[in-house]
């Protein structure tokens, strides 16, 4: 990949195009996320359950929407040929899609994760929940990276749907898994934020894997033989 060859103005234009296409729906996701945070902040057992469930649903939906509209629908509705007939290289397209997705998914993700942190720290919810929440957000980010990578590299709609659903549904066993680690669960109900070694290791793995997948996807994309 010759990073110097990226046409920045063109990439910016493609990102702006995607943003314009999806801005209303993304605003709706942020709004739904705010509602979820309001439930969470209520700090009652029932509202905590409803809020955390709704928050997960919104995050997963925003991730799937971002990937499917910017990549899968573009391919399915045959607008990919139109975009690739513009003066863009495969690398420009990849960078634009990556940046576009980081914005279209990243904006709701950052707003909601920051909101979650604020809700945990500023409401009667135990502060110890923070580590657990960060790990869940880390999982969503990793699942998103996997889905994004597959969507860019694999044309099969079936495989894409499978990977998107599977990676997001895996949040359940992930929750169960980290729930079995005493170093993480011991502080859940307390006001002490403890970034234990297992939690740090999981976070590092999530970050490394997410980055690795994004880089690998770019490498694969630039070696593709067709772009229509």
């Amino acid at each position: 990949m010759n990073v110097g060859a990226i046409d920045i103005p063109m990439v910016r234009l493609l990102v702006a195009k995607d943003w314009k296409l999806f801005e209303k729906q993304l605003a709706a996701y942020v709004l739904a996320g705010m509602v979820a945070l309001a439930f969470l902040g209520n700090a009652k057992p029932w509202s905590f359950y409803v809020g955390s469930l709704l928050l997960l649903i919104v995050l997963v939906a925003a991730a799937c929407f971002s990937i499917s509209t910017s990549l899968l629908v573009e391919r399915k509705e045959q607008t990919l040929g139109f975009v690739m007939s513009l003066p863009v290289s495969p690398l420009d397209f990849y960078v634009a899609k990556l940046a576009g997705n980081l914005i279209t998914f990243g904006v709701p993700f950052v707003v909601l994760s920051a909101g979650t942190v604020a809700v945990i720290l500023l409401t009667p919810l135990p502060d110890g929940l923070l580590v657990f929440a960060v790990l869940v957000f880390g999982h969503v980010l990793l699942a998103y990276s996997v889905s994004l990578g597959v969507a860019m590299a694999v044309e099969s709609e079936g495989w894409n749907t499978f990977v998107m659903i599977a990676s997001m549904v895996l949040v359940n066993p992930f929750l169960m898994g980290i729930g079995q680690i005493p170093a993480i669960t011991d502080h859940l109900q307390t006001d002490t934020i403890v970034l234990s070694a297992p939690a740090l290791a999981i976070l590092a793995a999530q970050a490394l894997l997410s980055t690795g997948i994004v880089v690998l996807t770019g490498w694969v994309h630039c070696r593709k033989k067709s772009f229509y």
Binding site: Q78, F82, L86, S226, Y228
Partner: protein, 294 residues
């Protein structure tokens, strides 16, 4: 001579299709019609020329630059519209026009407005509500209004009603008045090709079976009706592409007609009744059926 594009030894292999060892070039300022049945390889060739597909082997140069290496520079001067290319359904044509205008400095808003009127398109209408004909015209408008040096059109007239077809062909004819612009357009409709093209290339099963100037094609091919009882073997000459008997009448399709053929046929016991020019469609069908060079 400058070439709008040239391909040498171009090969592209798919599981059930093989575009084989193509050599083809288009001089600048010319219009080439690419004729072939569905699945002949027309779309694959056009996709390779636009960088949408990469060849397995061979050299491709477009507007003097190697592809796909220089595809960004090439695509700044290249227009491409394909039958299977779509615009964003939820967005208006105006939105698309603004997008293209921001990308291409050569965008000609006055010409775009003129094409809007001529094609009877509404800029403020969402593209999702366009008919097939309107969609094709919208794609052409987006391409023509930025005045590309080379225009590649994949089946631009397929599925259009006669009025839309005439409008599209008129717009293309206008583009061709500028001698610096080149056009390659594919179709299985030989009438459209015959109307516009300077040069015609027949593509069949992934290979070029003929590529000639249009006038030369039409000058060389003749349908000859003869009468006589001579056996077909007596006219088994290289220039005879097809022969058919109906009673005492024999119809020959000849790929390189000259006056000497009349004498040779008479000597072989076949009296020439009439000689007719052939349409491009007839030439194409005959070429494809005989599977050989025209």
């Amino acid at each position: 001579m400058n070439f709008a594009f040239s391909v040498q030894g171009l090969t592209k292999r798919y599981p059930h299709f093989h575009l084989g060892d193509l050599d083809l070039r288009l001089p600048e300022g010319q219009i080439m019609g690419l004729v072939g049945v569905n699945g002949a390889g027309k779309t694959t060739l056009l996709r390779i020329l636009t960088g949408l597909a990469l060849p397995d082997r061979g050299q491709v140069e477009v507007l003097g630059l190697p592809m796909p290496g220089q595809q960004v520079a090439v695509k700044r001067d290249l227009g491409f519209a394909s039958e299977d290319m779509r615009l964003y359904r939820s967005r208006t044509l105006r939105w698309h026009m603004d997008l293209i205008a921001r990308i291409y400095p050569g965008w000609d808003e006055a010409y775009a407005s003129e094409l809007l009127r001529r094609f009877d398109l509404r800029a403020d209408q969402a593209v999702g509500g366009f008919s097939h004909g309107q969609r094709v015209k919208a794609l052409l408008l987006l391409n023509l209004s930025r005045r590309p040096r080379l225009l590649l059109l994949d089946e631009p007239t397929t599925g259009l009603d006669p009025v839309a077809r005439a409008e599209v062909l008129e717009a293309l004819a206008e583009v061709l008045r500028d001698e610096q612009r080149s056009v390659l357009f594919s179709s299985h409709n030989t009438h459209d090709i015959e109307q516009l093209a300077d040069t015609i290339t027949f593509l069949h099963q992934g290979r070029i079976v003929a590529s000639e100037e249009k006038e030369r094609f039409l000058d060389l091919w003749r349908r000859i009706v003869c009468q006589g009882d001579a056996a077909f073997e007596q006219v088994d000459w290289p220039e005879v592409a097809a022969a058919r008997r109906s009673g005492s009448l024999v119809e020959l399709k000849v790929r390189r007609f000259d006056d000497g053929i009349r004498e040779r046929l008479a000597a072989g016991g076949l009296a020439v009744q009439s000689v007719h020019p052939m349409s491009l469609e007839d030439i194409f069908v005959t070429t494809v059926r005989t599977g050989g060079a025209a």
